[in-house]
Symmetry: C2
């Protein structure tokens, strides 16, 4: 690949800077008033996900310039290079393998690695995996941290009603052994298997917890000779796992070139296949693949990942916003902000470019958030009224995944929050309400000043067709 262009030295970047300045003072309410079609026009959909970005503070000129910027950065070539398996990770001189992992027929060793993982998951689900004393395994304790933990934890917890009754899955990440102790309180040594998930097989947290697990097995009467029936390893370093004591037929591999944040699509997805089954794992992959295909083929103006990325550049580099909230209106997606933190904050947001040269512009953003409506009773007041402006991504599922009335209220709350962020509420409006409700005049004025919401704060809304494996796969790929 040729030397990358510094994007802040392009004409599009300079034009965006000027155009952003010219938009100062323009409000979302004005943009909507000037264009009644805005709400349907600034939207795009693919793979069961509808993105409404009409409440972002930008106009058609800004969108066109952002697309010019993408062309100046050779984005189409970069997308082709990603899918062609070129060495797009230049500092480590290797390809990024996640699209290949999500292929229906993954190339090379990836296919056998997926098969081996699904077979082991199937054996566990069928009760064919036995402990040292011959008992069927009933509990899988997944020891991993970061990318080896967050993806599987998110997916498994998204579908509680579809979790296996035969094998319960537990996730333990931190070095604080209290987490392991809590998980083991619900397990018996004879019927428990540990999955040691570590790309390098040298992660201190995972090996420290594994050592404590070994002591627990030992104290539980599993003789040293029998412990190999209680270990699985998931790693890119099978020799290290074997040297540690994991039997060769219990070692699942994935390539070094799989980034931690993408490893849920590899053998690290074992707990997903165990808890939810191979069919659901296939649906998850299919959803991700549908988004990959859309990303590869759709024109920039209708391309969800491209639009999403360009909006983030607009926020970070032109609107100068440094944090960003992700607000899923679904209990099943409660671990999504944690997953996304690792996805975007561990490997993006560096201060140097791909060639190691210092960058002259901001790259990263602090991503945070929580499941809703919990956040509405916590940090939304700052989102609505605080002095820092925080752009928000609302996420909601269109079809009910819980009691119908609860889902109706969830959905309504999600839409209402994005509306009030945009439109605000004036002190006069609130004061009139308070006076009508019998609050005395000076008090009503003071309360109204405290309750006023300025509005004009940007957000996007992602509507999933359903809280279903394929939609979740597409969302994670996006």
């Amino acid at each position: 690949m040729a030397q990358r262009i510094a994007i802040d030295q392009t004409g599009a970047w300079r034009a965006l800077t000027l155009h952003h300045a010219s938009l100062a003072g323009t409000t979302l309410a004005e943009l909507f008033a000037a264009d009644p079609e805005r709400g349907t026009r600034l939207a795009a959909g693919a793979a069961g996900i509808h993105l409404d970005y009409s409440k972002q503070l930008l106009d058609d000129t800004a969108l066109a310039l952002l697309q010019e910027l993408a062309l100046a950065a050779e984005l189409p070539d970069q997308i082709d290079a990603l899918f062609a398996g070129a060495a797009v990770n230049r500092s480590e001189q290797r390809p990024a393998l996640h699209p290949a992992l999500r292929a229906a027929e993954p190339p090379g060793e990836l296919r056998a690695q997926r098969e081996q993982m699904l077979q082991l998951a199937g054996a566990l689900r069928a009760g064919a995996l036995r402990g040292a004393h011959g008992d069927a395994i009933t509990d899988l304790v997944h020891l991993g941290i970061g990318g080896s933990d967050l993806g599987p934890r998110l997916v498994v917890s998204a579908f509680p009603e579809r979790q296996s009754a035969a094998v319960r899955v537990h996730f333990v990440a931190t070095l604080d052994s209290g987490a392991l102790t809590a998980a083991l309180a619900r397990c018996r040594p004879q019927t428990t298997v540990f999955a040691l998930a570590s790309k390098s097989f040298s992660t201190p947290e995972t090996l420290t917890n594994a050592e404590l697990a070994r002591q627990w097995l030992d104290a539980g009467g599993i003789a040293a000779a029998g412990t190999d029936r209680h270990w699985i390893a998931i790693t890119s370093q099978p020799e290290r796992a074997h040297a540690w004591g994991v039997a060769t037929d219990r070692i699942l591999s994935f390539p070094e070139g799989v980034g931690g944040r993408f490893s849920l699509w590899s053998a690290i997805g074992l707990p997903i296949a165990v808890a939810l089954g191979p069919d659901l794992f296939a649906e998850l992959l299919a959803g991700a693949r549908a988004m990959d295909e859309h990303f590869r083929a759709a024109p920039p103006a209708a391309n969800l990942p491209v639009l999403h990325g360009l909006l983030r550049i607009w926020q970070i580099n032109f609107q100068n916003l440094r944090s960003h909230a992700v607000l899923p209106y679904a209990h099943g997606l409660r671990h999504l902000p944690d997953y996304l933190q690792q996805l975007v904050m561990e490997s993006l947001g560096k201060s140097v470019d791909q060639d190691g040269q210092p960058l002259g512009y901001a790259t990263g953003t602090v991503l945070w958030g929580s499941e809703e409506t919990n956040g509405q009773h916590s940090f939304h007041q700052l989102l609505l009224q605080g002095t820092p402006v925080v752009p928000a991504d609302f996420i909601v599922a269109a079809s009910p995944h819980c009691a119908p009335e609860a889902h109706r209220l969830l959905y309504a709350n999600c839409l209402a929050q994005s509306q009030v962020l945009m439109l605000g509420r004036t002190a006069a409006e609130i004061e009139a309400e308070l006076l009508a409700n019998g609050v005395a005049a000076p008090q009503a004025g003071l309360l109204a000043a405290h309750r006023a919401v300025p509005g004009n704060r940007p957000s996007s809304t992602l509507v999933l067709d359903a809280l279903a494996p394929a939609c979740l796969g597409a969302l994670l790929a996006l």
Copy 2:
């Protein structure tokens, strides 16, 4: 109280602005080199908590000016007014009652309300509370959201080994009924009681979940006439709770003047007293009270809450930092960032002052974080290398609360992270290491550029004597 001074119009504020500019280019490493005692001097302790703020980017002049600013804002008078029960909440014209709630002998109705809560908790723990069919209650499902959820949830989960075996406590907050469904899957209608925790007794989430709970009891064979044995209400609106169907002797009250973020110290603390017992609840209160007494009596330069607040003003208003990470190195404190989000982002960070006048300076900050060492495998890369600067508060306990080796590593990781944030690692240093490990020259240089850490990023460290109820009480009061 007299008209408040606008703090950005004071001489101290202007002097701080100038002084901050004069510190540009001064590094933490230089500040430490110039003052070998800095690490012990820029520290303070009280109530089992040691605060080390030596890694904040400020010097003695800045500290002195911040204390001047506190005096200009009449902070000592404000503290006196808070503890005297004056109407420090001016928009609602009432006192802030949390110090009174934490008193050994709370005044007025607060005492009877605490007694009634502890009696009900004792009855539950003793098996004296019976369901409609005469069974002893084994499960308490606490329905509340925001302040009615986060405090009790944090405290109960901090001490798993001290949780009652007789009565299990479950927390359900969100409108998504999936959370309630998951909790009820572990309960039986005959032996379950629901605590409806809502200050206004009109919170939609809590009432929607209560309605679903009522249907579950009904489907479980608890006749309508008997359901009053399965409800507890915790509210400032007892009439509304009674009208909803809660028996008078099962309604616990707390005053309207208790802010949601402080309600764990009131009857909302019922799940704490049930799960952990009245003695532990008393220890928690005693720890908070010790911090209150310190806050009231200690001189500003040695006063933990005052120092903590002044550092936040330094970061927000002079360093222009808009988010802030809280990083507890303890699994038991995993819900602390959620609790603190509500504490600082729901009611602080408004755009108007106490008198309803618009403010000319920033007030709020986005608080986020996670339990460690999980964050180290996720967002620390952005903290270390990203373009946004995010000040961090590290929190760790001095005495072991888990396996000794795990605790030693936790503690070492906590200190190491604050060191590397401060000192960084140069590309040259990393390149030399890579070359020594046999990485080829061009690749080593490129990797080193990607792995370099600029350093000079501010943090504080809070060391708790122990992960114990009194220390947690003091931390939450701080």
